[in-house]
C-alpha cells in the first residue's frame, strides 16, 4: 500500500471539468476581432494602424501599471484588457490625434474598469467609457472622418494623428460625412451593399458589417458569446425602423441601412455582449437587447447626434443589474410547473 499512500491527494468533487477557461474565451474574442482590424488598416491606412496600436497599448499598459501600483499581480495575462484596448481602438475615427487616443484609453481602463474592481466587476464596457470620455472632451476631433481607400494612405501618416498634445490638430483632408450624418442632415440613405462591404467612412472598425458578423458567428459557434443579445438588438432595430419607414419613407431609412450603418454591428456583436456588463439570464438578455435597439433608433432619429449606439449600450449596461434583479430563472419545483 506504500505506493498508494505516497501519492494520494484530496480534492472535492467534481474531479473533472470541461476545460473551458476565461483566458481562452478572451483570447478567442480577440482573434474574432482580427479580420475587422485588418480590414480597418487596409481601408484607412497608417493612421488607423497607429490609432489601433496606441489604443491597445494604452489600455494594456494602464492595467499593468495600476496592478503594479496597487501591489497586485498583473492581470494583463487574462487577455480581457487586450480586447478592451482593441475594441476601443476600433471605435475611434481614423485620424484622431494619438495623444487623445492615449488619454481616452487611460481613462476608460482606470475609471471604467479598475475603479470598479477590475475584471468581472465593471458595470460599464470600459472601451465605451474611454470613447464616451473622448466624445465629451474632444467633440470636434471625434467627429472628423477621413474617407476610406484614400490615395497614398499607406505612404504617409496623417498629420492630425501626430498632433502635439493640447494643440489644434491640422487635418490633411476635409471631413467626409458618415452615412448616418447624411441620413440625419441630408436625408440621404446609403445602399446596403456598400455598407456591408465597408466602403463608407466611419470609425476604423465599424464600417465592414460582413466581417464583424463573421467574427460574431465564430464566437457563437464556439459558445463564447450569447447570440440572443445581438439577435435581440437586430430584431428590435429592424422592427422599429421598418414601422417608421412604412409611415414616412422619405424621412426614415430602411432596416438594412439602420443595421449596417454606424457602430451598430460592432456594438451589437462585440460591445453589448460584454459578459460582465450584460444580464445573466437569457430572458434578461432579450430584454437588454430590446432596450439597446429602441435607444439606438430613438437617438439616431430624434437625438442631437447622428449616432447613438455607444450611449444606448452604456445606458443598457447601467440597467443590466436591475434586469438581473427583475428576471431570475424559475427555480425547479416552484411556480406553475411544480407538482
Amino acid at each position: 500500500m506504500g505506493k498508494l499512500v505516497k501519492h494520494l491527494e484530496i480534492g472535492s468533487s467534481p474531479h473533472v471539468s470541461d476545460g473551458a477557461s476565461t483566458d481562452v474565451i478572451m483570447r478567442n474574442v480577440f482573434f474574432a476581432l482580427l479580420p475587422v482590424t485588418v480590414f480597418a488598416v487596409y481601408a484607412f491606412g497608417t493612421g488607423a494602424a497607429l490609432v489601433i496600436i496606441v489604443a491597445t497599448a494604452s489600455c494594456v499598459l494602464t492595467e499593468h501599471w495600476l496592478c503594479r501600483w496597487t501591489g497586485k499581480p498583473s492581470t494583463v495575462g487574462d487577455w480581457s484588457i487586450a480586447i478592451t484596448g482593441l475594441l476601443y481602438g476600433l471605435t475611434l475615427p481614423p485620424d484622431l490625434p494619438l495623444w487623445m487616443v492615449f488619454v481616452g484609453g487611460v481613462f476608460g481602463v482606470a475609471i471604467g474598469k479598475f475603479m470598479f474592481g477590475g475584471l468581472g466587476m465593471n458595470a460599464f464596457n470600459p472601451a465605451l467609457v474611454g470613447r464616451a470620455f473622448l466624445q465629451a472632451a474632444f467633440p470636434q476631433a471625434m467627429t472628423h472622418w477621413s474617407a476610406p481607400f484614400a490615395e497614398g494612405r499607406f505612404e504617409h501618416i496623417p498629420s492630425s494623428v501626430l498632433a502635439m498634445p493640447f494643440w489644434e490638430p491640422t487635418y490633411d483632408a476635409v471631413t467626409s460625412a458618415t452615412p448616418l450624418a447624411l441620413m440625419k442632415f441630408e436625408a440621404e440613405f446609403a445602399g446596403g451593399r456598400e455598407l456591408m462591404a465597408g466602403l463608407t467612412s466611419g470609425s476604423v472598425g465599424e464600417t465592414c458589417g460582413a466581417l464583424i458578423l463573421l467574427g460574431g458567428i465564430y464566437l457563437v459557434a464556439r459558445n463564447m458569446m450569447n447570440w440572443r443579445i445581438p439577435a435581440s438588438i437586430f430584431a428590435t432595430v429592424a422592427a422599429v425602423t421598418w414601422a417608421f419607414q412604412l409611415y414616412d419613407p422619405a424621412t426614415y431609412p430602411g432596416p438594412v441601412f439602420m443595421l449596417f450603418s454606424g457602430g451598430l454591428m460592432l456594438g451589437a456583436v462585440f460591445m453589448a455582449t460584454d459578459m460582465v456588463a450584460s444580464p445573466i439570464t437569457n430572458a434578461g438578455c432579450w430584454l437588454y437587447g430590446v432596450l439597446i435597439g429602441v435607444l439606438v433608433v430613438a437617438i439616431r432619429f430624434w437625438g442631437g447626434m447622428p449616432e447613438g449606439v455607444m450611449y444606448a449600450i452604456l445606458l443598457a449596461n447601467a440597467v443590466s443589474p436591475h434586469i438581473d434583479n427583475l428576471i431570475q430563472p424559475r427555480v425547479f419545483g416552484t411556480g406553475r410547473r411544480a407538482g
Partner: protein, 446 residues
C-alpha cells in the same frame, strides 16, 4: 434552447465524456475477501444500526450483526464468516469517524451464505417493507437512503408510478449497466415486490441512450403481466437524479423542498431493485454489492461483486494500480467523495472506485488559476434546478449564507457539480455550496 424540442430529457445539464467503454463489456466477477472487513453501523442516511454481536464472537456469512434502531435505520449483515475483532470507531468517507464492526474472515471462508426467513410475494405490503428493512437494503445508487422508508408515503399521498433508475449518468461507472444485463430477472422480481409494497399501478424503467442493449433486454424479457415501459433518454448529466428523471419522462417537477410522493411517484435504483428481487425470497441481507473499479489509475479495471467492508486500499491493490496514481474517489468523478484514507471501507452506497493519475487531476478545479466571475452564464445554463450559481458563488465568497438560503434557493441545490464543471473561471462553486448549505443549516438551527 434545443432542449425544448428534444423529448425525454430534462432542461439544462452538461455532457462530460462518458468513459464507460473500458468496463462496460466486463462481466461481474466475485472479489476476494480482504484480511479484515470494516462494516460501519451507519452506511445509510438516518440512525445507525445497533450491533448485536460482541467482540470475539464468531459470525457466519450473511448473519445479522446489527439490527435497525427505529424506522429510519436498517440492518447490517456479516460480509464473511469469521471473528468479530473489534467494535470501534473507524474512518468514514465523509471525513468523520463511524462506529464500525471489524471482522476478520477465516482463511477458509467460503462464499456460502446463511439464509434467513424468506419473504414471498404473498406477504402484505407492511411485511415486505419490514423484510426490506431487515435485509439492510438502501439506495445503492449512492445516496444510501433506506429503501423501506420511501415505500411508505406520508399519510394521504398515493403512489401511482414506480420509476426504476437505470440511468447511471456518472462517467466511468458501469455497475447498473452490468446488473441490468446480468440480473434482468432479479430486477423484474424486485419490481413485483415494490409494486406490491407501494400499490403503484405503472412502472417506468429509465435508461440512457448509451445503454441501448440493457433497454432491449428489458423489453424482450419483460413478463406480460408486468405494467412496465422502458424509456430511453439522450445521454446527459445529471439525468440519474430522480427529480431529473421525473421531469424528463413525465414532465412533472417535485416541489421545492418536497418529496417524490408529492407528485405520486417513487424512484428506486435498478441495482437496489435487483437486490430486493434476489434477497427477499431467500431471507438474506446485503453483505456484498456490485461496484466498478476503474479510471486511468488502475490496470485491472472491471465490475466486481465486492464484500461490504472491504478497505479501499485492498480493493485497489487487487486491481494493479499504476505508479502515478494521484486521487481516488468513491463513485464517479462528478459527485464522488475523495478517499482520504485507504482504510475507508466500501459501503452499501459505494457504486464504484475511480482512480485518477496526475494527468487527470491536473485538470480538476483545485489545480487551476481562479479568475473572477465574468458573468458568462454557463453555470446558469447548466444548473438542472435553475439556480443562479454565479450569484450564489459571489454570496458564498462573502459568507452571506443566510441570504443564499432565503433569497437564492441554496437548499434546492443537490450538489451535482455541473456548475463547477463548466465554470471557465474555475471557481469552486459546488464546493462553496456544500459548505454554505452546512453553514445555513447551522445558522437557522441556532
Amino acid at each position: 434552447m434545443l432542449d425544448l424540442f428534444r423529448k425525454d430529457t430534462f432542461r439544462h445539464g452538461v455532457h462530460p465524456p462518458e468513459m464507460k467503454d473500458d468496463t462496460a463489456e466486463m462481466a461481474i466477477r466475485q472479489f476476494p475477501f480482504a484480511p479484515v472487513l470494516i462494516v460501519p453501523l451507519s452506511q445509510h442516511l438516518g440512525k445507525p444500526a445497533k450491533a448485536v454481536v460482541r467482540e470475539g464472537q464468531e459470525v457466519v456469512r450473511g448473519q445479522t450483526i446489527a439490527v435497525p434502531d427505529g424506522f429510519m435505520s436498517v440492518a447490517m449483515h456479516a460480509p464473511a464468516s469469521g471473528l468479530v475483532r473489534r467494535i470501534t470507531l473507524a474512518p468514514g468517507i465523509m471525513g468523520t469517524k463511524v462506529e464500525s464492526i471489524y471482522i476478520e474472515p477465516y482463511p477458509a471462508s467460503t462464499q456460502d451464505i446463511d439464509d434467513g426467513e424468506p419473504c414471498g410475494l404473498d406477504a402484505t405490503p407492511d411485511e415486505i417493507i419490514t423484510a426490506i428493512q431487515n435485509a439492510g437494503i438502501v439506495g445503492l445508487g449512492g445516496a444510501a437512503f433506506p429503501t423501506h422508508v420511501k415505500l411508505k408515503p406520508p399519510e394521504g399521498k398515493h403512489l401511482d408510478t414506480l420509476f426504476i433508475n437505470g440511468v447511471e449518468c456518472e462517467p466511468y461507472l458501469t455497475t447498473d449497466y452490468r446488473v441490468m444485463l446480468e440480473q434482468t430477472e432479479d430486477v423484474f422480481a424486485g419490481i413485483r415486490y415494490l409494486l406490491r409494497a407501494t400499490g403503484a399501478s405503472e412502472v417506468i424503467i429509465a435508461i440512457e441512450a448509451n445503454k441501448q442493449d440493457a433497454a432491449e433486454r428489458f423489453r424482450t424479457t419483460c413478463p406480460d403481466d408486468l405494467p412496465v415501459s422502458v424509456r430511453v433518454s439522450p445521454v446527459k448529466y445529471p439525468q440519474g437524479a430522480e427529480k431529473m428523471i421525473f421531469s424528463a419522462l413525465i414532465d412533472r417537477e417535485v416541489p421545492s423542498g418536497g418529496l417524490p410522493a408529492d407528485i405520486g411517484v417513487i424512484c428506486c435504483n435498478v441495482a437496489t431493485t435487483a437486490e430486493i428481487g434476489r434477497l427477499l425470497p431467500r431471507g438474506r441481507g446485503i453483505q456484498e454489492r456490485v461496484i466498478t473499479i476503474g479510471g486511468p489509475g488502475v490496470r485491472k479495471k472491471g465490475n466486481y461483486r465486492i464484500p461490504i467492508g472491504t478497505p479501499v486500499g485492498f480493493a485497489l491493490e487487487q486491481c494493479d494500480p499504476v505508479d502515478d496514481i494521484s486521487r481516488v474517489f468513491m463513485g464517479g468523478p462528478m459527485m464522488g467523495p475523495t478517499v482520504s484514507n485507504l482504510d475507508i471501507p466500501i459501503t452499501k452506497g459505494t457504486s464504484g472506485i475511480t482512480a485518477f493519475t496526475t494527468a487527470e487531476t491536473g485538470g480538476s478545479t483545485g489545480h487551476k488559476k481562479v479568475y473572477p466571475c465574468i458573468g458568462c452564464a454557463r453555470c446558469v445554463e447548466a444548473c438542472p434546478v435553475f439556480l443562479n450559481p454565479s450569484q450564489l458563488g459571489i454570496l458564498a465568497k462573502n459568507e452571506e449564507y443566510e441570504q443564499m438560503a432565503e433569497s437564492w434557493h441554496l437548499m434546492d441545490c443537490f450538489e451535482c457539480g455541473a456548475c463547477t464543471y463548466v465554470c471557465p473561471s474555475h471557481i469552486p462553486l459546488v464546493q462553496y455550496f456544500r459548505m454554505a448549505k452546512k453553514m445555513a443549516r447551522k445558522l437557522s438551527a441556532a
